[in-house]
């Protein structure tokens, strides 16, 4: 499967749709890999934080809404 890039030069009004070169494709794949890694890390951190929060609520015997009311 080929992946294309769109380029529009407004001065010349030239529009081109070209297949990514090997180096561009490698860069594109690396970018996706970095993005997915970053996203997975952020999700893991969010889940860990949520679990930590729930553990504290359980220890205190409060629901999330009750804690919110208390802190609000």
């Amino acid at each position: 499967m080929t992946i294309n890039k769109y380029m529009h030069n407004v001065t010349t009004d030239q529009i081109s749709v070209d297949v990514l070169t090997k180096s561009e494709l490698k860069e594109h794949e690396q970018k996706i890999s970095d993005y997915l890694e970053k996203k997975a890390k952020a999700q893991a951190e969010a889940e860990a934080k949520a679990a930590q929060r729930q553990a504290i609520l359980d220890r205190l015997g409060l629901t999330a809404d009750e804690a919110k009311l208390l802190l609000g």
Binding site: K5, Y6, M7, H8, N9, I15, K31, I32, Y35
Partner: protein, 250 residues
């Protein structure tokens, strides 16, 4: 000597001699010829005739492509001239289909300091795509020093936000819509651009997946350059969509 009512052409008197008829006809014809030519001064295709007095006419030659007809500075005659830029001038527009990146070069220049960009973007591959913006200068991409913050109100009635400091790109939209019917729309105002400056970008919009109903974004590129364009890239897969760029009068 008898004359005509409107143009005062000389005609033979009733008592003139028949032998002078040919000369009289020549004189009348010549007068008519001169008058008709004066009424039709054009010489070239595209000429427009206009009155210089209540009875005399002159020609103005055709202008060049894109020129418009206007009144001259003395308010005495029409002339062709380049149209003056309006308060909002369309610079360019275009559309792209399933691409890994969409680049628009040379849409920003010193002509304007501020621009409006309207984006409609969707994905045919996935609804988990985020959309990124980077500035272009000449044929290079600025891949550093983006400061941005965004917040929105989600479909679950909650505030949400994202942002970054000194990032390699600017995250415009999270969750670009998957089918064309769920297009993500953003209206961007880009200020302080086109010369060696640090541009600001302010945007409003909504993602196509209805995860964030309303989105506000503010960004500053902290490296000064003469930025001339932009590139849109998805986090994964490809994007489709369209763009329109307007220059705002300085």
């Amino acid at each position: 000597m008898a004359t005509t009512t409107n143009y005062n052409w000389t005609t033979p008197d009733d008592t003139d001699l028949v032998k002078d008829g040919a000369a009289a006809i020549r004189t009348l014809g010549s007068s008519a010829d001169t008058t008709v030519k004066a009424l039709n001064p054009g010489t070239t295709a595209g000429d427009i005739d206009y009155y210089t007095t209540s009875t005399a006419k002159a020609r103005v030659g055709i202008g060049t492509a894109g020129q418009v007809l206007q009144v001259n500075s003395g308010a005495t005659a029409p002339e062709w001239a380049a149209p003056s830029a309006g308060a909002l001038s369309k610079i360019t527009s275009g559309s792209f289909t399933e691409v890994a990146s969409a680049t628009v070069d040379d849409c920003f220049s010193a002509t304007y300091k501020n621009y409006m960009v309207i984006l409609n973007v969707f994905s045919v591959n996935s609804n988990s795509i985020d959309l990124f913006w980077q500035y272009r200068y000449s044929t290079n991409t600025q891949a550093a020093t983006y400061n941005n913050s965004a917040f929105g109100y989600t479909s679950a009635n909650a505030l949400t936000g994202y942002g970054a400091s000194s990032a390699n790109s600017l995250e415009l939209i999270q969750k670009v819509g998957e089918p064309a019917a769920d297009v993500s729309i953003m209206n961007l105002l880009i200020q302080n651009i086109g010369t060696d400056t640090k541009p600001y970008l302010f945007g409003t919009g909504a993602d196509g997946e209805d995860a964030i109903n309303q989105l506000r974004i503010a960004s500053k590129q902290t490296t000064a350059r003469t930025y001339t364009g932009f590139i849109l890239t998805p986090s994964v897969n490809t994007i489709s969509g369209s763009y329109v760029v307007y220059g705002l009068e300085n």
